[in-house]
Each structure stands twice: as structure tokens, then as C-alpha cells.
Amino acid sequence: MGSITLSHVKKSFGEVQIIPDISLDIKDGEFVVFVGPSGCGKSTLLRLIAGLEDTTSGQILLDGEDMTKAPPARRGLAMVFQSYALYPHMTVRDNIAFPLKMAKAPKEVIDQKVEYAARTLNLSSYLDRRPRALSGGQRQRVAIGRAIVREPKAFLFDEPLSNLDAALRVNMRLEITELHQQLKTTMIYVTHDQVEAMTMADRIVVLNAGNVEQFGSPLDLYKKPANRFVAGFIGSPRMNFVDGPEAAKYDAHAIGVRPEHFKLATAPTPGTWKGKVGVAEQLGSDTFLHVHVDGLGLMTIRTDGDQTFSHGDDVYLTPDPTRIYRFDAAGKAL
């Protein structure tokens, strides 16, 4: 079991208010990702749930039980830190066994659980090594192993992949997602990388300046962003925004079009936006065109990789009318 409920949680450091007021309901077994730009309070929120920071006001319930004032150890949560936070002087075995040892588990139980965790995470042949003799990915797995053996109510991940190289990150992303399928334990995962958020999450919490901008499934966020911030944050490359008279035609303060929702032509047709290609980023499968549109500024367009454009080419853009997002003056979606 591992449902987590935050009700009107507030957090300030002295005068500085980090989290003005957040209420969330995380269901048992869910994989929830907190995503947002740096400094949006996502790590602080995770640390509040973990009990590493005191809440200024509000309540944190775990399985319906008020844990707002409980010390971290009593909450039954396990955390994987960004720096892995392995104990350098202990072997991998001792690292993984540490929480069990602290819980005074009998030796046979410890051995059995450590073996199981090591097998799950492919660490069996490294058990007697010290952390410094391991690669980044292996260290990450040890940190996860240390979390698994406690059989926690929920796992908390604090940007766990940001210290890994790109290829390994994709691998570990899959491994963590698979681990979730296998364990079916609640997981909260903090990241600033929206690709990680989209690929891993059951539901995503988009945070900005300590406020929840939207809480929903990845596709919900992509298809029905609640406001301009979410629309701009979710999706890669990011959404193109247009305001002024062009937006007024659609009866909105601003409109947004995703790079993948354009029709591209090389000859003018009425009502299209004319522009010049600046940079063409060719990825093979796709090409990202950075187009300087007359009067509207720089726009990013996604086309398939077969079309080739070069710097200075004239192109004509038609936004897909069914895929235009409209926003009012306050940035709320219409």
C-alpha cells in the first residue's frame, strides 16, 4: 500500500516562500513524475514528502495516516538521491543491507533480501566491491537496491539520472519503468527533463514557482494543456507561440502550434505564413527547421527527414487548424 495525499502543504524558508499551497492525491501503485524548470520547488516538495524538510503548514498523509511530523525513518519511504549517496566505505552488499541492519532484521533475512535485490538489478557479481569501483549506472542500481530491500510504501527519486551519460540515461529510464511494472509500488520521480516525464509517468505534475500548473496523464498534458506554461513545457521541441493580430483572428490573446502540427509548402497559398529557413537540424528520422516567419518571429517546425532544406530557403507554413491551442491574456487555455 502506498497512497500519498498532500493537503494544503506550504513551505517557506524564512521569508522566501517556496511552495505557496499544494494539494495532491497520489494513488497506490502510481508512477508520478514531478517536472518543472529548476527552482520550481519540485525537489523541495519531494523532500517534504520524505520528511527531510519540515512543512510550514498543511498535512502529508501516507495511507491515510498523518505523517506530517513523523521523522523520515518512520514514514516507510525509500529515496534515491541525485548523487546516489552510497556509503563509500561499505561494500555494495553492506550498502544494500544497511537499512535492514538498522531495522535489526535477522542475518538470514538480510542475506536473502540482498541476494534478491542484487539479482533483480544485475549486481550479483559486484556485491563485494566498493562503490568507487563501480560505474555510474551500477552505482545508481546500488542506490535503487538499497531502496528496494526496505520494501517501502513508495519510492522517491530525486533526479536520479542527471549524472549519467545520455545512452545510459535511456537505459536506466527503461529499467526504472520496468521495475515499477514488476514491483507495482508507488513511485514519485523528480526531474527537469520532460522527455523522462513523458516516457515514464502514469501521471505528471507540472510545477512552476511552487504551484501545480497541471496534474494529469502524459497525453492529457500534451493534448490538453491547461495553460501556456504547460503547453510550452511539455513537448519537444517546444510549442510555437504567436500573439497579437494573428492570434486575434482565432479570437484569443495568444495561440500555440506544436512544431509537428504544420503543413509545409514551397509555393505560396492564401492565408499561409511566409518565412525563411534559418537553421535546419537534421536528425535523420526528423528534421527540425528554425524558420524566421515574417512578422511573427522564429518558429520551430518538425518535418520528416526526407525533405531537405537549406539556409535561406523560402517556405510557407500552414498551422493545422484542429491543433491550434488558444490562450487568454492570463495564459489560461480557452
Binding site: L52, P72, A73, M79, F81, A85, M90, M102
Partner: protein
């Protein structure tokens, strides 16, 4: 940098300083060695010439030598024990977030800046004097007979004074070690259910092991040669109760005016220091490997 030319140049440029240092070290050592094999007593200037092992046999054969050796070891061991344990404790306290932390740290470090003879005089007259020392007043306040520290517990008193001087050093080194412990490791241990004692034992202490080793090594080197504190307070007495090897050399060479025997004692002290260093490195040196 590693071409033959730069290496030769580097050697030539460094040569003067290396030669000066070498002479600085070799000449006194050679003279001491030379004197230690000579009959050279200022009280008996007519007796000169080669003494063979006579001076060494005289120094080592004397019962005061054994006592001085034991005193030296007790002094070093006692001070190490107090400073390492006390230093760890103080470092843990100073690492807590408190108001005026910066000032407090400077105050804690300050005894280290007091020169040894001055520190010893402060303790001798300000604290440990049975007539007007603070401790004497404290004892009298509780209706007790004041303790004459330097007569009743001479070696212990010297240990207390020296420990007071070296405690800041240990605290400072251990505090920096403590502050270099990653916050996330501490938090991870907290999440793993380790209470304060377990966190100290399993996380903090192993992290500090290397710094503790450094404190022990450096202090041992200095503590083997403690002299000023003894000279100012007990004068090595009563009898030989607070005489260490360094002070024994002083007593023989300067107070008894026997330069030959004093030199022999000095050579013996060097040998002992090396033996101690050897065993110490074997005992704790493994902590220094990366």
C-alpha cells in the same frame, strides 16, 4: 616539462636550496653523533678523548631513562586520547547550526595560538596553583583540600596542559572532515532508519577515519618532543616523575653539563622517534591509502 633539458635545469635550480637544507640537517646531526662518542663534560674539562659506547651505556643504563621512556609514551598516548575523543566531540558540536558560529569557531581555535611556555604559565599560576589557582578556589568552595597538582599528579597535569593546547588543532581538522561529508549521505542514512548514534558510528566515523589518522600522526611527531610545558611547570619532577626523553636530554646535557651523555641521549631520542613513527605508520597508515 618532462624533456631532459627541463629536468636538468630543474635540478640545477633546486640544488642550492636542497644543499642548504642538507647542511642544516647534516651538520648538527653529525656534531651530535661526534659528541656522543666523546668524553665532554663541562664540569670535568680535563677529561677528553674518545669514550666509545660509554655515554650511551651511561644514559640507557640509568633508571631515569626507563622512567622517561615510559613517561614519554604515557604523555603522547594520554594527549592523543584526550584530543582525538574531545576533538571529535567538539567538532560534532561546532558543526551544528548555531548563532555566532564563525566567532565561536575562532574562539575554540585560539588556545593553539598561545605559545607553549605561556600556556603552561597560565595553567600553572592561574588554574593549578594550590594557593591562588582557580581550581584551588573551586576545591575550597566545596570545602575540599586544594590539590597541589604539580606535586601530586605531575605527569597528569602536564598531559592536561598539552591536551588543552592541542585540542583546537584536532577539533579544527576533524571539523573540516565533518563538513566535507555529503549532506545527501547523511540524509540517506536518516531515511534508512539510522538513529543519531548509528549515523555517527556507521557513516560519520568512517568518513573521519583519515583525518583522525592525520591528527594522530602529526600530533605524535610534536608530542614526542614536548619540553617547554615541563620546563615551566614541574621541571621534570618530583624526581623524574614528569621527565620525558626530551627533558632527560636537557637535564643531562645542560643541567648536568655533560655534553657527551646529552648528545648520546639525543641520538637515542631520534632512534626512539623513528621506532614510534614506524609502528604508528603500520598501525594507522593504511587509512591514508586512497
Amino acid at each position: 616539462m618532462a624533456t631532459a633539458q627541463t629536468r636538468t635545469l630543474a635540478r640545477i635550480m633546486m640544488a642550492p636550496s636542497v644543499i642548504v637544507l642538507l647542511i642544516w640537517m647534516i651538520v648538527p646531526l653529525a656534531m651530535t653523533l661526534w659528541f656522543s662518542f666523546q668524553n665532554y663534560s663541562l664540569i670535568n674539562p680535563m677529561m677528553t678523548g674518545f669514550a666509545g659506547w660509554g655515554n650511551y651505556l651511561y644514559v640507557i643504563g640509568d633508571p631515569s631513562f626507563t622512567q622517561s621512556l615510559v613517561n614519554t609514551l604515557i604523555l603522547v598516548g594520554g594527549v592523543l586520547l584526550i584530543t582525538v575523543i574531545g576533538g571529535t566531540f567538539l567538532a560534532l558540536l561546532l558543526d551544528q547550526p548555531i548563532w555566532g558560529q564563525g566567532i565561536l569557531r575562532i574562539i575554540v581555535i585560539s588556545p593553539f595560538f598561545v605559545m607553549p611556555p605561556v600556556a603552561a604559565l597560565i595553567w600553572k599560576n592561574g588554574f593549578m596553583h594550590p594557593g591562588y589557582g582557580m581550581l584551588g578556589h573551586l576545591w575550597k568552595f566545596f570545602g575540599l583540600e586544594p590539590v597541589d597538582w604539580f606535586n601530586q599528579y605531575p605527569l597528569f597535569s602536564v598531559i592536561v596542559i598539552v591536551a588543552w593546547q592541542w585540542l583546537p588543532f584536532a577539533t579544527l581538522i576533524l571539523l573540516t572532515a565533518l563538513q566535507s561529508l555529503s549532506e545527501e549521505q547523511r540524509e540517506a542514512a536518516e531515511m534508512d532508519g539510522a538513529n543519531a548514534i548509528n549515523r555517527f558510528y556507521y557513516i560519520i566515523l568512517p568518513h573521519m577515519a583519515r583525518s583522525i589518522t592525520i591528527v594522530i600522526l602529526i600530533q605524535t611527531i610534536f608530542l614526542l618532543g614536548i619540553f617547554a610545558e615541563i620546563r615551566v611547570t614541574t621541571g621534570g619532577g618530583p624526581g623524574y616523575a614528569s621527565t620525558n626523553i626530551a627533558f632527560l636530554v636537557f637535564r643531562t646535557g645542560i643541567l648536568s653539563n655533560d655534553i657527551g651523555a646529552g648528545s648520546a641521549g639525543g641520538v637515542v631520542a631520534v632512534v626512539i622517534a623513528n621506532i614510534v613513527a614506524f609502528f604508528l605508520m603500520r598501525a594507522v597508515g593504511k587509512n591514508l591509502d586512497a
